[in-house]
């Protein structure tokens, strides 16, 4: 342990509950009869479908391509037939439906043609990023930001450190822990590819010290593969250590600026599962079609499953032994940052790391809500050094200017403030309400600016058309008036000129044929013969009468 670790403010020591699901090795989940694959599983624009209903697809085939810069492709998680592209319920706090590709699996699970890269060192970083982009890889820690963008530092910054985030700080979740224990080689291979894409000078894997097996596994793999340029950093167990900015602060001692990106301080942070997915996409040619999901809480057999993207969540529950009797609701994500699932037929998407069955006892542990007593416990717990109490008052009063003055948008919604609140106030809900309300107002402002622009343009256009019509009328009027007075001289002149032109043309015609140039010898000879014949005929006719001249014409 040579590295000097720093610290972040606030944070909590939470009961982990990780022992529930961590014991069993990751098993492959069953392939469902129908996969429901949403087009929008990431931050950014929804993917654009490339297939249509009735089409047969193979496992790994691209179903929809990334649209725009911030977007990610979507692939068939198994082989089968596309049934429809339609609105289906998805895992989102709103419970609203979204456009999904419904794929009926044929059970054969046949791969499409894969194109593994033999030696990624020979590719330049941008080609590597394109592979990762087309493989549809997004941040698998939960946020779902397209990974290739975070592997593209641009010309402005040199990347100093690549951090692989294996902290997994939220209670109950063990999918990254299992991944590090079982597939450390894949994570390491992915880390090397990412490092090449970023041209980063250092790379390290940060793991919370409550996962000694994972740490040992990664260390063992590094030793076995004889790799000494990736460091394993053991970080203390404290929620939210896995927050990107918190982890960077602890590992490097540097703070990401407010509203800034880790890249601003030369750091890039990726989840360990993202690294494994990058390895699979580049070195095996496999796009992101499955992920490890923790099924835990009130299920009979808590465990981790490797789940195909698009598997309905309700079909996973029997594979974890089914729900206990006292389960009230399902949470997507962990108990701190997750949200309640509204429709159990919603599919697993790339960002779903955990399905937590919340029992009545878990939900009842929070007491009744009481008024804020201004104790300040929330401010002490906040890992971003915000003033949650002030944010609460202003969000509650819908004072959206003030709430932004108190840096609402630096809030990571970790839930520490609400956890420690002795009055049990649902603080994070107020912040989420304020954030979405502000975004909505911004959208409305944009729409009204556009409407103003269009209205002004229309008004100007109508004015211009009116002026043009008036000018045209004025011209016409002047012309009509002119006919009776001075104007008809011009008309007469025009007629006269036209008559003269016609006359001149008439006179000019007939005297000299215009098509006598460029004739061949043969044609000239024939012409001369015809002329001679005509003259001879004329001579013969001349004594007989004067009609010849007329005929000649």
């Amino acid at each position: 342990m040579s590295r000097q670790l720093s610290n972040f403010p606030g944070g909590l020591h939470l009961p982990g509950h990780k022992e529930l699901s961590v014991g069993e090795a990751v098993a492959a989940a069953e392939i469902p009869n129908r996969l429901i694959i949403p087009l929008h599983q990431h931050i950014g624009a929804a993917a654009e479908p490339l297939v249509e209903a009735g089409q047969k697809v193979l496992k790994g085939e691209m179903l929809a391509k990334a649209k725009g810069f911030v977007s990610a492709a979507v692939h068939a998680s198994s082989s089968g037939t596309i049934l429809a592209i339609e609105d289906r319920p998805v895992a989102h706090p709103s419970g609203l439906p979204a456009l999904c590709i419904v794929l009926e699996t044929d059970g054969e699970d046949v791969w499409c043609e894969r194109h593994p890269v033999e030696d990624y060192h020979s590719l330049d970083p941008s080609a590597l990023r394109n592979i990762i982009r087309d493989a549809g890889i997004v941040g698998l820690g939960g946020a779902g930001f397209p990974a290739y963008i975070k592997l593209n530092p641009g010309a402005r910054t040199a990347v100093d450190t690549l951090i692989l985030n294996g902290a997994e700080c939220e209670p109950y979740i063990t999918c990254d822990d299992r991944l590090m224990r079982e597939r450390a080689d894949e994570i390491i291979a992915g880390a090397r590819i990412m490092r090449h894409a970023l041209q980063a000078s250092k790379s390290l894997i940060a793991i919370e010290d409550n996962k000694p097996e994972a740490i040992a596994s990664v260390r063992e793999a590094l030793e076995r593969l004889d790799i000494d340029d990736i460091e394993v950093v053991e970080v203390p167990t404290r929620y939210p250590m896995g927050g990107e900015k918190q982890l960077i602060k602890v590992v490097t001692g540097k703070e990401v600026p407010s509203q800034g990106l880790p890249l601003d301080i030369g750091v890039v942070c990726h989840n360990v599962a993202t690294a494994a997915a990058v390895h699979r996409s580049v070195e095996l040619g496999e796009p992101l079609i499955s992920r490890i999901v923790t099924l835990t809480g009130g299920v009979e057999r808590p465990r981790n499953l490797e789940v195909r993207i698009g598997t309905p969540i309700e079909e996973l529950l029997p594979q974890a032994g089914g729900l206990s009797a006292n389960v009230e609701r399902l949470i997507v994500g962990g108990p701190m940052m997750g949200f309640t699932l509204q429709h159990r037929e919603a599919p697993v998407v790339k960002t779903v790391n955990c399905i937590l069955a919340a029992t009545r006892e878990m939900d009842a542990s929070r007491g009744p809500v009481r008024p804020c007593i201004r104790c300040g416990a929330c401010a002490e717990a906040c890992p971003v050094s915000l003033l949650p109490q002030q944010l609460y008052w202003y969000a509650r009063a819908k004072d959206f200017d003030k709430v932004q003055d108190y840096n609402l948008f630096d809030c990571i919604e970790c839930g520490c403030c609400a956890y420690v609140c002795p009055s049990n106030l649902p603080l994070v809900q107020f912040y989420r309400f304020a954030k979405t309300e502000i975004w909505s107002q911004e959208r409305e402002k944009k729409a009204s600016d556009l409407a103003r622009e269009r209205h002004e343009f229309r008004t100007a256009r109508i004015e211009r058309e009116k002026a043009e019509r008036a000018a045209r009328m004025a011209r016409k009027k002047a012309a009509v008036k002119g006919d009776q007075g001075t104007g008809d001289n011009a008309k007469k002149d025009a007629i006269k000129a036209a008559m003269e032109r016609a006359k001149a043309k008439k006179e000019g015609a007939g005297t000299q044929p215009k098509n006598t140039e460029d004739l061949t010898k043969e044609q000239r000879r024939k012409l001369a013969e015809a002329k001679a014949r005509r003259e001879k005929a004329l001579k013969d006719q001349a004594p007989n009468g004067a009609s010849g001249g007329k005929e000649e014409k």
Binding site: P368, L450, H455
Partner: protein, 185 residues
């Protein structure tokens, strides 16, 4: 005597110079319009619907600036607009009219089978959001429609309907938390 004269001349000279300078500046940097009108106009939702009784958002903004209109006449803007106007102008907030209660955001939808292509709605649309030509089917560009309803009345075959804009995952907002606070006795 001479000192006094010099002083008077100097002051008079300065007065003339500054007078000319100010006069020039007044012409050169003339403010075309009352800037407060722009500020009011930027708060209004720009639906151009005329529900306030004025010909559009800008005329209403001018009327407010002139003190001729109340600040609670804009139904599309609702309470937020009224409060923003009260804040900007230092006036007291007033409750919205009974009929001025905000409604869900709507868009016009043309029943394309019924449309006879008369172009009356195209002419009525204040933001050029309807596409169509004479004797050709018309359609509304949904993203540009402000939901002002001005196209509904002119239609001779009643084929335009106002439909509420459907909420999507992108436009969804977290609801205001319902908190029932219990006080300890």
């Amino acid at each position: 005597m001479l000192d006094m004269l010099t002083a008077i001349l100097a002051i008079a000279g300065l007065a003339i110079v500054f007078g000319l300078l100010l006069g020039y500046a007044a012409v050169r940097f003339k403010v075309e319009e009352d800037p407060v009108v722009d500020q009011i106009d930027s708060i209004l939702p720009q639906t151009q619907c005329g529900q306030c009784g004025y010909a559009g958002c800008r005329p209403y903004a001018e009327a407010i600036a002139a003190g001729e209109a109340e600040i609670n006449l804009c139904p599309p803007g609702g309470e937020n607009t009224m409060l923003a106007l009260a804040d900007l102008l230092g006036r007291d907030p007033i409750a919205l009219d009974e009929e001025g209660k905000p409604q869900p955001k709507m868009v016009a939808v043309i029943d394309e089978d019924t449309c006879i292509g008369c172009t009356l709605c195209v002419q009525a649309c204040p933001v050029d959001a309807i596409l169509g030509a004479a004797k050709q089917m018309h359609t509304v560009i949904e993203s540009e429609c402000t939901g002002c309803e001005l196209c509904v009345d002119p239609c001779p075959v009643d084929c335009i309907e106002m439909k509420p804009l459907e909420e999507t995952i992108q436009t969804w907002k977290w609801p205001y938390p319902v908190v029932v606070e219990q006080r300890k006795r």
